[in-house]
Every structure is written in structure tokens, then in C-alpha cells.
Symmetry: C2
Subunit: 356 residues, 2 copies
């Protein structure tokens, strides 16, 4: 079923049908109504690819994430999708699973589909692929790790703010041996978090040498904590590079019969929805997925609407500690672990968030 078919039945030209459908104001209301009736009767849906072909705009955005199975990302995808629908865009999603081959094919496919822009929320990406996209003048938005050139928006995340709060929170609870479990070392964003940890620790005169490396997954958290726990002087508090790691830590602590928070304080990073539902509920640094997605989408939209407006905006996302119940006063040196009940911060009952 064509636009021609519609034109024939409405006894007008295809031009008129097109104008009517796109609500061009100069078309006579009577005629428009006639066209619309036929459209509805036949259940006609314009062919987007034909439209894209002539318009030179596909109304598709690419969205590249590291790993959709990490609960951090679905929230982003959801918000991004909501915004896309609102603005009549479609999304091409890729979850790279950290595989460079995957990234490459994904970029290629996006170029072939002529996306209008790409949001790369992958916390680390090969430079060479960026080139491909840049050559084609595809608007891009990065988080953390983007070159500083016009046409490419960058979202800088203020890791230090939240991580400093976390460190100081733990220090205030008399923890001195605070460990950090990092993410995969080659990811820029993981490095940034680790650096923020170091800064925050040295700022207050603590040494930041207790660092284990994880993989931003639960498995890595478990493994890393096992190592940490085997130390001569195991840490009394662990700050994790993301929430999944923290969940792994708590899981392994359970396995090793280390009580959280009484014998071990755990802090996560990201504040995924799930963090509120762990046992105990996880104290973590919030980096709003909703905000992030929103900023990314807006940035893309900007780029598309007013391309190459030379001042390329910078965007920043703040992070903040949110207190729950996975941290407590450090057991005082003299084997006071058994008094833990007394040491513990009074449990704050966090009301369940309303079902969204």
C-alpha cells in the first residue's frame, strides 16, 4: 500500500497526501480531512525508509552500552527509550560486552543505518572507531572519555564528590583500613573512580594502598574480597567501584561468615535500583542513571538540531553518597566485634520506593 494508492482513492496527487500527512498548513482543511479518512480506512503507515532516504535523516539514534546485563544499564536504556519515543526517534541498541570486535561491527552497522547520532555510554572505547564516526560527521556523545572537539559532546562525571563523601563517612565511623575494589583496569572510568578514591584517602591522611581489582561484576567482587580477607590485616571497610561488585562482596562475606555491617562495612557505587533491596540495604554513591540518560539524549538532540554550534557544550553529572545500612562503626581494636549491635548505626528504615 502506497502513498499513491491513497492519492488515487482520495482523488488527489501524492504531493497532497504527503502534505496532508505532514500537516503542512497550506493544504485545504476539507481536502486534508478527505485524505486522512482514506489513510485511516486503509490503515496506511508511511514507509520510514523511503522517507529517511529523501529527508537525509533517519530519526534513529545509536546507543552503545557496555553490558546490558549489568543492572546499571537497563535503567539508562529505559529512560533513553522514553525520550526517544517522545521525540519520535528510534533506538539502535548495542551491548558490546567489552568486545572490540563487537564495538566495531556495531559502529559499522550504525553507520550503515545512517543513524543521526550515537550515545556511547560504554566507559571506554577504542579511538579508531571514533574516527569512523567522526569522519561521517555523526553527532556523538560520550561519557568520561571523549576527545575534546566540536561535534562531540562529553559528559564529565564528578566521581570525586561522591567518593569523597563515602571515604569520609567511613573514616567518621573510625575505619582506618579501607579497601577499594576497582573495575577492569583498562576502562578509563574505572581508573577515574580509583583515582578519586586515592585522592579522597590521601586528603585525610589515610593510605590508599589496599586496592584489589574486580571486573564490575559480582563474580569479581567475590574473588576480590576473598583476596582482601586473606590478608594479614584485612580491611574493615570496602569501597567498591560499582554496586555489582559490592553485591559480590556481601555475598562472599556471607560465605566467609563475616557479618555486614558489624564486622565489615561495604559501600557501592552507582546506586542501582537493586541496591535498596540487598541484605543489608547497600550504602552507595549515587550516579543517577536517569540523569545520565537524559543528558546524553539532550546532548544528541542539540547536536542534531543546531549542528556545529561551535561552542560545544560540556555536561557534568554529580555523584552523592546515599546512606543505607551496609556500614557501621568499626569494631574497636580490642576484639569488640561481638558488641557490634551496640556499635551499629541505628537502622534507618528506608521506605520502599513506590512501584514505578
Amino acid at each position: 500500500m502506497d502513498i499513491r494508492e491513497i492519492a488515487r482513492r482520495a482523488k488527489v496527487s501524492t504531493a497532497t497526501v504527503s502534505r496532508a500527512i505532514n500537516r503542512v498548513p497550506t493544504v485545504d482543511p476539507q481536502l486534508a480531512k478527505r485524505v486522512w479518512r482514506v489513510v485511516d480506512e486503509l490503515g496506511y503507515y508511511p514507509n520510514t525508509q523511503a522517507r529517511a532516504l529523501v529527508l537525509g535523516r533517519s530519526r534513529i539514534f545509536g546507543l552503545i552500552v557496555s553490558e546490558i546485563t549489568n543492572p546499571f544499564f537497563p535503567e539508562i536504556v529505559q529512560t533513553f527509550e522514553n525520550l526517544a519515543v517522545e521525540n519520535n526517534y528510534e533506538i539502535l541498541l548495542t551491548s558490546t560486552v567489552h568486545d572490540p570486535k563487537r564495538m566495531e561491527s556495531s559502529v559499522r552497522r550504525m553507520i550503515e543505518r545512517r543513524v543521526d547520532g550515537v550515545a556511547i555510554l560504554t566507559f571506554g572505547m577504542e579511538e579508531s572507531l571514533i574516527e569512523h564516526l567522526r569522519d561521517r560527521k555523526v553527532p556523538l556523545v560520550f561519557v568520561d572519555v571523549g576527545p575534546d572537539v566540536p561535534g562531540i559532546a562529553n559528559i564529565r562525571i564528578n566521581y570525586l564528590n561522591g567518593i569523597r563523601q563515602a571515604v569520609q563517612h567511613l573514616a567518621a565511623l573510625r575505619h582506618a583500613r579501607i579497601a577499594f575494589i576497582s573495575g577492569p583496569q583498562h576502562l578509563k572510568s574505572a581508573a577515574a573512580r580509583r583515582d578519586a578514591f586515592k585522592t579522597a584517602m590521601t586528603e585525610i591522611g589515610l593510605s590508599a594502598d589496599l586496592i584489589a581489582v574486580g571486573d564490575h561484576k559480582m563474580e569479581g567482587g567475590m574473588k576480590a574480597f576473598r583476596e582482601l580477607h586473606a590478608l594479614d590485616q584485612p580491611p574493615t571497610a570496602v569501597l567498591c567501584s560499582n554496586d555489582m561488585t559490592a553485591i559480590g562482596v556481601m555475598r562472599e562475606a556471607y560465605e566467609l561468615n563475616v557479618k555486614v555491617p558489624d564486622e565489615l562495612s561495604v559501600v557501592g557505587f552507582d546506586d542501582i535500583h537493586l541496591a535498596e533491596f540487598t541484605i543489608p540495604p547497600l550504602t552507595t554513591v549515587q550516579m543517577s542513571q536517569h540523569e545520565l540518560a537524559k543528558i546524553a539524549f539532550k546532548a544528541l538532540l542539540n547536536e542534531v538540531d543546531e549542528p556545529r554550534s561551535d561552542e560545544h557544550h560540556k555536561y557534568e553529572l554529580m555523584t552523592n553518597l546515599v546512606l543505607r545500612r551496609s556500614t557501621a562503626l568499626a569494631a574497636s581494636g580490642n576484639g569488640a566485634a561481638t558488641q557490634s549491635k551496640a556499635n551499629r548505626i541505628p537502622p534507618r528504615r528506608i521506605p520502599g520506593t513506590p512501584a514505578r
Copy 2:
């Protein structure tokens, strides 16, 4: 940059370029090489929409899920995407969030983009929307809830198998008061699970009247368990309609100071990756997300390749109980809850799955 540009530079016609690119065997190898060199030099990527326009095939599949933020779905999306990439397909993803408006716009958008098929993994969908898609002869695959007509593939899930195993497992552990927390009542798949529970219970002479209703989210699990726990005779075991509900239950049990598994056995459904990492690790009924996605994709591919092969295949997915550590012997009537340690099944250490 066109195919024409390539043709000009390679001093051939566009037809030849097209043939070379699509590896039509009749083209002279010499010439093909010449064409490819130019293509690589210029970094030419064919325009997929133009191609789709003439081919009448978009090589896009739609994927509709209920809620991407439910950890059950990202696994599906990931496998589906993997398969898509392998087969040179693209995916248009929609997370309907159970919103009929959303579903409708999603279907509309997919038709407009001329998808080659749609997998509807949404556990319940409005009939009227199906019509739209069917009228256009778009291949469809449903899970659970699809009309029984050619051109529409259906994946039936054998809920009873796994749920029966779960019920009998609990019964064997001497639980008599076994409750069920269902999903949203209007979802067919939720009803199917509940019915399976009833069947399995009555089969072994237990009454299936302890049923609370949740929402397939953690919040709902918490609320439902609160209700159950307030009963005169609260259940000693809870079977949940999905894992998120079970996580909510365990979380609320923690809040109410009910020990899992000693004082309460909890069983989930789905076996999401996370289930292995809850505290305690969750015993649950496995319904392989990987398998589900695979079946769905294959079904779509079949439909596309040999359309209307009149025998429309039926697909089935099995479910099976996987034992972890959230279930234990029921506390014997005489307040034996304190002997729980003895009652408990010896903990099975489940080795962490290798990072995938």
C-alpha cells in the same frame, strides 16, 4: 558518498559496484578487486535504507519486552542481540512497561520501519495490536499467549514441570503451609504460574489457598510477604512467581527478622543470574532466558525464510528446579525454630559461574 561515486572512481557502472559488493559470482575478479579497493579507500558504507527500499526487506526485527529493568529481560535482549548480529539483523527494542499506549506506539513504529518480524516477549498483550501486525503479514512469535494461527509462532512454557518440582521439594522438607505470591493478575503468564502452583499442590493433597498477589517486582514481594506474615498462621514456605518477588520477600523477611531459610523457605522463579548471588543464594525454578531468546529468534528466522509454511511450528520451553540455599526443613511444630542449624540442608557451595 554514493555507489555512483565509487562507480566513477573505479570506472565501472553502479551495477557492477553493486554486484561486486554483494559478491555476485559472475563479476570478473579483477574488476571486483578494483571496486573493493576504491570502497576501502573511501570508506564507503552502503545505505541500508535505500537497500531495504528496493529489497523489500529491512533486516530489522522488533523485540518487545515487558520491562527492561527486570533483570530477566536483559539476558534475553543480550542473546537476541548476539543472534541478530550473527545473522546480519538489527533490533528495534521496546520496553512497554506494561503500558498499553506504549505498546501501541511501539507496534506502530515497528510497522513504519517495516520490520521483518516481531518477537513479543511480554507475557500478555492486547489482542487489537496483534491484529495490526497480522494484517501486514509480519511474522510474529509469542510466548504463552498467542493466537493459534499460521504465520504466528508460539512458545509454550511448561510451567508445571518446574513448579511441581518446587512444591514437592518443599513438601519433602515437611512444609505444609506453602504460600504463593503471584504476579499481576491480568498477565496470562502470571495466571499460568499460579494455576501450575494450584495443580501441583492439590496433586499432593495440600490446599492451595495461601495466595498473595505481587507485581513481579521487589516492592510487590515485600508487600505481599508482609501480608502473609501478619496472618494467624503464616506460611513456612513461599513460592514466588518470579525471582524479583523472591528477592523482595527475603528483603522483607530480613526487615521482620525472620531468618531465611531456617524460619522461612523461599523459592523463586526464572533463575536470573542474580539468584545465585542473593543472601542466601536463591533456590528457584529455572526458565532459561538464553533458550527462550534463541527459540524466539530461530522462530522468526524460520518464518522469514520460508514464509507461510503451513505447518506452524510449536515450540516448548521446559522449566526445572535448581536447588540453592534458601530452603530448609520446616521447623517442627514444637517451636523447634531454634534448632534450625540442625534442620538445615547442608549448604551446597555453588561455584560461581565463570564470567561470561
